[in-house]
Amino acid sequence: MNVLGTIFSINTLAAAIRLVVPIALAAVGGAFSERSGVINIGLEGMILTGAFAGAVGSYYSGSAFFGVLAALAAGAILGLLFSFFTIDLEADHVVAGVGINILSLGFTTWLMQVIWGQKGASPQVAGLPEIKIPILADLPLLGDLLASNSPIVYLMFIIVISSWYLLFKTPLGLRIRFTGEHPEAADTLGINIRFIKYFSVTLSGVLAALGGSYLSLGHLNWFSSNMSAGRGYMALAANIFGQWNPLGGFAASMLFAFTDAVQMRLQGMNLNIASEFIQMLPYVLTVLILAGAVIRSRPPAALGSHYKSNK
């Protein structure tokens, strides 16, 4: 059938790889945060802030590279802020995370007005150029998929793999996982849990913001209001579905992204279905996965709790 042929084509997969970037990066960030015991529902706001800071940085400097740096810095600041509330002030993680999301939405919309004098979207800014990797381009299939992409796409693959390595093979990773499972035990082993949590949460902010910057500098070349459009929540779901493992989180993100790509293809085909229904697909999938797979998953034992050493 023609429809199926269009859906399961190499082009759809290539589109999925472009769509997966912000979700997968934020999911990896979520893995760090939650492995250290902090629920990070603020990923959504962190992506949005990253996208905005990326556009602003590029707008003022004229260089997309500085845009990315600005996004990373903004993500770090937001991560530190979230850390301060959840770790030092012992705020409820979910409430603080929702706070981050509302703050990001309001702050970016307001600054858009201030900087560009318009509400809907920013003007065009300098975007990241695509990079061609010569050896990859010669490969069949993979060549079509990966040969020419934004640098952030390649960076994403490196980050996913090295994050897995960091979490599961290095001393720092063991300490992060220990802190999320049993902070008191980590404390009695002389592990500096406050540092571990700050590090993990801040890193999750940086990664989510990097994902955000791809939206405004790689995928498109401008920022628009509420650009993250729920990707942070998808990342949260992907992280859980992926069992708090960067590799699993990436795979789950690919599932979302692929559905999203299919959805876009279907819209372009003039089928006799209301486009709203088609657009729903990725979100319906998020709900189903959160409701179904999550029941069987086993989160870090101390996720969402507070612990302070040295009373």
């Binding site: 390595y165 093979k169 290095t170 001393p171 063991l174 300490r175 996982r177 220990f178 499972e181 049993h182 008191e184 035990a185 980590a186 404390d187 009695t188 082993l189 002389g190 592990i191 500096n192 086993r298 034992a301 050493s309 040295n310 009373k311």
Partner: protein, 508 residues
Amino acid sequence: MTINAVEMKNISKSFGSVKANDSIDFSVKKGEIHCLLGENGAGKSTLVKILFGLYNKDQGQIKINNKPVKINNPAGAIKEKMGMIHQHFMLVDRFSIIENIIAGQEPTRTWGTSIDKKKAAVKVKEISQNFGFDLDPEALIENLSVGEQQRVEIMKALYREAEILILDEPTAVLTPQETEELFEIMESLKEDNKTIIFITHKLNETMEIADRITILRDGKKIGTVNKNDTTPQKLANMMVGREVLLDLEKSSKNPGKEIFSIKNLSYKNPVSGLELNEINISFKKGEIVGLAGVEGNGQLELEEIIAGLKAPDSGEILFNSQKITKVSTRERRNMGLAHIPSDRNKYGLVGNFSLAKNILLGSEWNPEFKNKFMIDFDYLNNYTDQILKEYDVRFSGKNSRASELSGGNQQKLIIGRELSRGAEFVLAAQPTRGVDIGAIEFIHRQLLKIREEDKAVFLISAELDELMSLSDRILVIYEGNIVARGKVEDFDQEELGLLMAGHSREER
């Protein structure tokens, strides 16, 4: 001059208005086993948590090996070669033994950032073999027995080359055999010239293992004595601050007719998979029936089924020859069932409620406490005062909440509520768990009084001393089966311990 491995001077620590430690001096000689003895809430744990850097002290000095030190966190304590084995294990269930041991001090490959698992395994194996532990370093904690988990805790300290080991109530979770094995390990650590601080509230353990004993009471140090210069009775008096009757007077008494019985009762726990298998127990008036067993062998399931919190898969429960298998909890209580739950914070009390409201729990329908449609608070308050007095519940203020009481007083509150309702059958599950020696004595006497009044008691307990001294008959439960039953005279402690651990009578 002998070296003091630990010397703590003038240590004080307050939590809010409570002085947990009040100018305590405490010193431990190198190479000795020093027992820190005291009731719950005497300040033992606080003192060692200060030593280990988990709590900040308000005042005082600490010297390690005669050298003044400042310990701000566990990392600092580890640097001073201290190791602590906590009462609640500090282990991550889903991690392997190796991961639990090395975290915080991971060996890495020479040229790289990754953990050198091989190097770690070699070192862990070496420690394990030195003390004859025989543990597979790759095994997950959740698959280990409690005794094995404790060994992992000890290995954690030894891996960090601890010279001073602090064991916080290590025997609370162990079977008698496991306790014996722990004492052997402690002896061999002592031969290795390690210093051991052993925290307990159990007198017989103190007398068995300690070289010297320091007694704390209400946050103050009462004294330090040599084991050879003291007796259990003297220690008990120092702990409680008054004369304590260690031996209970139990009258000989013939039980009356059957009042409560369980017939062919089976149940499978859908979560843990544990199965109660065709349980048959008969309870007679004026009799205490004890159920011995290591926790998690079906006691909780049995308790909940008798109380009416869970329905059995098959079998019957009879109360005064009436079938109550499908009768609600409230109805059972009206018929004269009293329940002292094993988890008092979950099922026995509402921590945020006042004492009076906790007394009312379960009787809120009773017309006695009602004044037309409203609760009769005047009556309730009088009634509460009476119970608090009769059951010796000590509280700080009239409006105290249940969560502000000590464990012993919480338990006395529950016992007061349950026994004052004129019950015929008392289900007492772990009635003295986490309760201090003075309260234990009181609770034991209350249970014997109930027996004198010709009522039946089902005593579920993990404390063999308690079972042996209170029960008329004893049953042993293992993996959901009653593996032995008989008169209390037919058992001795060691045999019970073995039966609880799953050895059959013939094996011996």
